[in-house]
């Protein structure tokens, strides 16, 4: 019966412990709604047929009212029903608002347009929340910029992430599986792309993930690697059940498949491969150095040396990011060696070169000149917060004339993204978790 009603009413799977109870109340309210609206209309139509005017109007019979007890009975009954629903709904609400004492805490930070999850033992993940099944998880949410809302339809929970304060939500997943997270509070251009996933692992897998998370979720949990067509909901052999999301990662993906300039292609590639999750194009500080004004700038390294950000250094930073790390940024970037084609590498370089001049910023020294030690390049920690700009700003960036796209570079295949899917977590090691500052002040990592 539960399954039948759930299917008829198009409700998602009941993956959390509270979902089924909420759905029972849902069934009762919605079925009453459908029945009530239909019944009152049918009664009205019956009156219309029964009492339609025949011939000339008679004078009204002043006593022709339905009995008072009927109306009082119906209204009183309805009020009692509403109050009953309110009592049940309020009790359930209190239950889903108050986390159990022993719940596993996870800090959730939202920003335009991504979700970051931080565990008390020092791990970070981006866009994927790993949790053990059969154990309550308490989320403490905040936002770095505007209001977002953490929504997992399969769990029947939703909680706004508000900048400047912490809010709490909790859930307990019943079975291992993958569940879609969506942002439910409008937060700007890419609001609809601000999705993530909850991966519920069997407790022993979760323990293994915790132990091995430091390097790479893919290697420590090979059986999690899933594939298949978009919208797939059946269990993938060897994988976890759940929808395989083909979330577009940037608005640029919506662009028509006409020949693109290298700069446009670079923007697209940067979105598809997840570069823009950490790097910005408008000079605002984020997890990694901004690309605005980067090319040709003198980059201070973590070792104290300085290097000129030319093609060689930028390419090296893509393939072996930790070899010469930009001072002031955490060592979190994964290597893209083998994951990015030469054409894509070139496109990203062209993109970075195209945004050397950013309004309000001194132009970077021309490449080839002797590097000078100036102020720290764009994006260094501690600069004043820069308001997020819409993606369309990218198109205003002075770009070199369109170059025809070499055929062999092509566009990334629509739908599925190059391997590995950029949705896999970028695992951050080593640094202890400090709940991120609520306001958007500077870099996110300590």
């Amino acid at each position: 019966m539960n399954q039948l009603l759930r299917t008829v009413l198009f409700l998602p799977p009941q993956a959390s412990t509270v979902a089924q109870g909420i759905d029972f109340l849902h069934y009762s309210v919605i079925l009453t709604t459908m029945f009530g609206a239909t019944a009152i209309t049918v009664v009205g139509l019956m009156f219309l047929i029964r009492y339609r005017a025949r011939g000339p109007f008679r004078r009204e019979d002043p006593d022709a009212n339905p009995p008072l007890w009927a109306e009082v009975g119906v209204v009183g009954g309805l009020l009692s029903l509403f109050c009953l629903w309110w009592v049940i709904g309020f009790m359930q609400y209190v239950k889903i608002q108050v986390p159990p004492e022993d719940a596993l805490p996870v800090y959730v930070t939202a920003k335009q347009w991504m979700w970051k999850f931080a565990y008390p033992d020092g791990e970070h993940t981006i866009s994927t929340l790993y949790v053990p099944s059969g154990k309550a998880v308490r989320l403490m949410l905040t936002s770095r910029d505007v209001i977002h809302s953490f929504y997992v339809p399969d769990f029947r929970i939703k909680q706004d992430a508000v900048p400047g304060r912490y809010t709490t939500a909790w859930f307990e997943v019943k079975e291992p599986g993958v569940h879609l997270v969506m942002c439910a509070e409008y937060c700007g251009t890419n609001h609809s792309l601000m999705r993530a996933q909850v991966v519920a692992l069997a407790p022993e897998d979760y323990a293994r993930w915790l132990a091995g998370a430091r390097r790479d979720a893919e290697t420590s949990l090979p059986h999690l690697v899933t594939g298949g067509p978009p919208g797939e909901t059946t269990p993938v052999p060897g994988g976890l059940p759940g929808p395989i999301e083909d979330t577009p990662l940037s608005v640029e993906e919506f662009a028509p498949a006409t020949p693109l300039s290298m700069v446009r292609l670079g923007t697209q590639v940067a979105g598809d491969l997840g570069c823009l999750r950490c790097h910005t194009l408008d000079g605002s500080p984020h997890i990694g150095p901004t690309w605005a004004g980067l090319y040709g700038a003198a980059v201070p390294l973590a070792t104290g040396e300085t290097v000129l950000a030319d093609e060689a250094y930028l390419t090296e930073s893509m393939m072996d990011p930790l070899a010469r790390l930009h001072a002031g940024f955490p060592a979190v970037m994964p290597s893209y060696h083998g994951l990015i084609s030469p054409g894509q590498t070139a496109a990203i370089l062209e993109l970075i070169k195209s945004i050397r001049e950013v309004p309000g910023r001194a132009p970077a020294p021309v490449a080839g000149l002797a590097p000078t030690l100036g102020p720290p390049p764009a994006g260094a920690i501690g600069q004043e917060p820069v308001r997020p700009l819409p993606v369309e700003t990218l198109q205003r960036v002075p770009a070199p004339p369109d170059q025809p796209l070499p055929a062999e570079q092509g566009l990334p295949p629509p739908g599925r993204l190059p391997n590995p899917p950029p949705r896999l977590p970028i695992v951050v090691g080593g640094t202890p978790v400090v709940p991120p500052a609520p306001a958007s002040t500077g870099g996110s990592s300590p």
Partner: protein, 552 residues
């Protein structure tokens, strides 16, 4: 079928002794632009809000077209975000809030009270020009690029958005002034200009709802002005009242915004209930099952509506205790609405019902309003709202109330009072056809959106997971059907303006006071001061007896 009343209720002869109608008494553009006649001002509002309805509807069709596919269909994300904002702003402030009060309230309310005009005719004209100014400012802001915050303007996003927010806010602020002026006028008219003999317990039900609406306008609109002003200062000057980056509080905005915007829902729906309360007794040819119940529940909704705003914030981080209080208070609004619904239905009982286009709109209203209202109870139930909040379920819910309720009643009024306003009869056959098509198109558009919400589709999504697509396609198809049906409706009315049969003074055999005057009414509505010391729903009298008693 409409022939039945005219057989027994011959209209007052529109002989040569009658005064010229308000349409014929003067001519020339200036006689319209500088008029103080409430009927002419009502017509100017009519033309204006039909234009804004067309604008908002065009935005809606563009949005629905974009949602045909999970990714880009016809526009990019930024355009989409601006467009849903402008759709909301246009439909809420430029159409729904002014529609029934400024058009039918302006035209009908003074006549129903037996007055020559509103209490402050010049203020009425000022209100119209304030409306035009607000309209121009808002549309100018749209042309300058519009804004993308959603019609709710939640900070801190509205503080940070790079789009042009300020002209739109300013426009709405000016529209608010127009709303207040109109509200003052209606309240003053109801208090001061009732005809000789009209007691408070005999005021027509439409007047009661417009009166209740005006009270809400007067009390709530200043709060809207305040909140928009603060957001504008935040956005323009970086004042930061709602921006946590400088110590402000975004949740504070949600409180003051919904303190206006929830009562604003009743600004939009109460006049619709007033129209229905006139249509049902007229076509059932009997008095309402309970005048007191309808009038009292109107005031009940207007009052309780001020104490339910927190139900918009169940997942915003408010305390569970507050959520409980707001939840139960919201249930009372539903009970008052239920009382009205039962009273309307009971009014049909043992009536002498004439089936016609306005009555068909009543049946559409009945189903859609009960369905929409009951889903309102559903989202006021806290644990259910956690799943539904900010999903298409909420979108479907308020469109059932706003379109299924208010727009359906607006169309009912447009047909019901058409003979009175223009002195012509529309084609009943086309009217019935278009009303059925409006209902079907509406259901096809918004019923799938309930299912989308159940599945978990969040609102304001440009791109969406593929499993939602087929329901979106259904909804878009319905939207086109609805648009076609509305075009047919207004074409039917527009054609009747010129080619319609000449309307008698009282084509429906109604006992309400506006039907005592010729169609269209003369400039000062009645001959001399009418004596309206009887119930406007007294069907124990014949038409002749009513005219004699009123001295008309």
């Amino acid at each position: 079928m409409t022939a039945a009343p005219t057989e027994t209720a011959p209209p007052l002869p529109d002989g040569p002794e009658s005064e010229p109608s308000y349409l014929a008494v003067e001519s020339g553009l200036w006689s319209w632009l500088n008029t103080r006649d409430h009927k002419r001002i009502a017509l100017m509002f009519y033309v204006t809000v039909l234009g804004t309805f067309l604008l908002g509807g065009t935005f809606a069709l563009a949005l629905r077209t974009e949602l045909l596919t999970p990714r880009r269909t016809i526009m990019d994300a930024m355009t989409y975000n601006r467009m849903f904002t402008l759709h909301g702003v246009t439909m809420v402030w430029l159409f729904l809030i002014p529609s029934i009060p400024t058009v039918f309230g302006n035209f009908i309310l003074p006549i129903q009270l037996g007055a020559k005009d509103l209490a402050f005719p010049k203020l009425n004209l000022v209100s119209f020009y304030m409306f035009l100014l607000g309209l121009a400012t808002t549309v100018g802001g749209m042309l300058a690029g519009g804004t993308d915050t959603g019609w709710t303007f939640y900070p801190p996003y509205s503080d940070l958005t790079p789009t042009r927010l300020v002209p739109v806010l300013l426009g709405i602020f000016i529209l608010g002034i127009s709303t207040i002026l109109t509200g003052v006028n209606f309240v003053a008219t109801t208090h001061m200009l009732r005809a000789r003999g009209m007691r408070w317990s005999q005021i027509p039900l439409f007047v009661w709802t417009i009166y209740g609406t005006s009270i809400i306008m007067l009390l709530a609109t200043p709060v809207l002005g305040m909140s928009l002003l603060l957001v504008g200062l935040d956005h323009g000057l970086g004042l930061g009242i709602f921006d946590p980056a400088v110590g402000g509080d975004p949740v504070l905005f949600e409180h003051i915004f919904w303190f206006y915007s929830h009562p604003a829902v009743y600004i939009m729906i109460l006049p619709a209930m007033g129209v229905i309360s006139e249509v049902v007794p007229t076509f059932a040819h009997r008095r309402p099952a309970s005048y007191t119940a309808i009038a009292a529940s109107t005031l009940g909704i207007a009052f309780v509506g001020f104490f339910t705003w927190g139900h918009h914030m169940f997942v915003a981080g408010i305390s569970t205790y507050d959520a409980g209080v707001f939840g139960i208070l919201s249930m009372f609004v539903a009970i008052f609405s239920a009382i009205k619904v039962f009273t309307w239905t009971a009014t049909l009982y043992k009536g002498q019902i004439v089936f016609s286009t306005p009555l068909l709109y009543f049946f559409a209203f009945l189903f859609l309003f009960v369905f929409g209202g009951m889903t309102g109870v559903a989202v006021a139930t806290q644990s259910l709202d956690v799943h539904w909040h900010d999903t298409y379920f909420v979108v479907a819910h308020f469109h059932f109330i706003m379109v299924g309720g208010s727009v359906t009643a607006f169309l009912a009024a447009a047909h019901y009072w058409f003979p009175k306003m223009f002195g012509r009869m529309y084609s009943e056959r086309v009217g019935l056809l278009s009303a059925s098509a409006v209902f079907l198109g509406f259901v096809l558009t918004f019923l799938p959106q309930f299912l989308l919400g159940n599945m978990g589709m969040p609102r304001r999504y440009y791109s969406y997971p593929a499993q939602f697509q087929w329901l979106h396609v259904l909804s878009t198809g319905g939207a086109y059907l609805l648009a076609g049906a509305l075009l047919l409706t207004f074409t039917n009315l527009a054609l009747a303006l010129k080619w319609g049969e000449k309307a008698p003074a009282n084509p429906w055999g109604s006992r309400s006071f506006e039907w005592l005057t010729p169609s269209p009414p003369p400039k000062h509505n009645f001959r001399g001061a009418p004596n309206l010391d009887y119930s406007p729903y007294d069907y124990t009298m014949t038409d002749e007896e009513a005219h004699a008693r009123a001295g008309q």
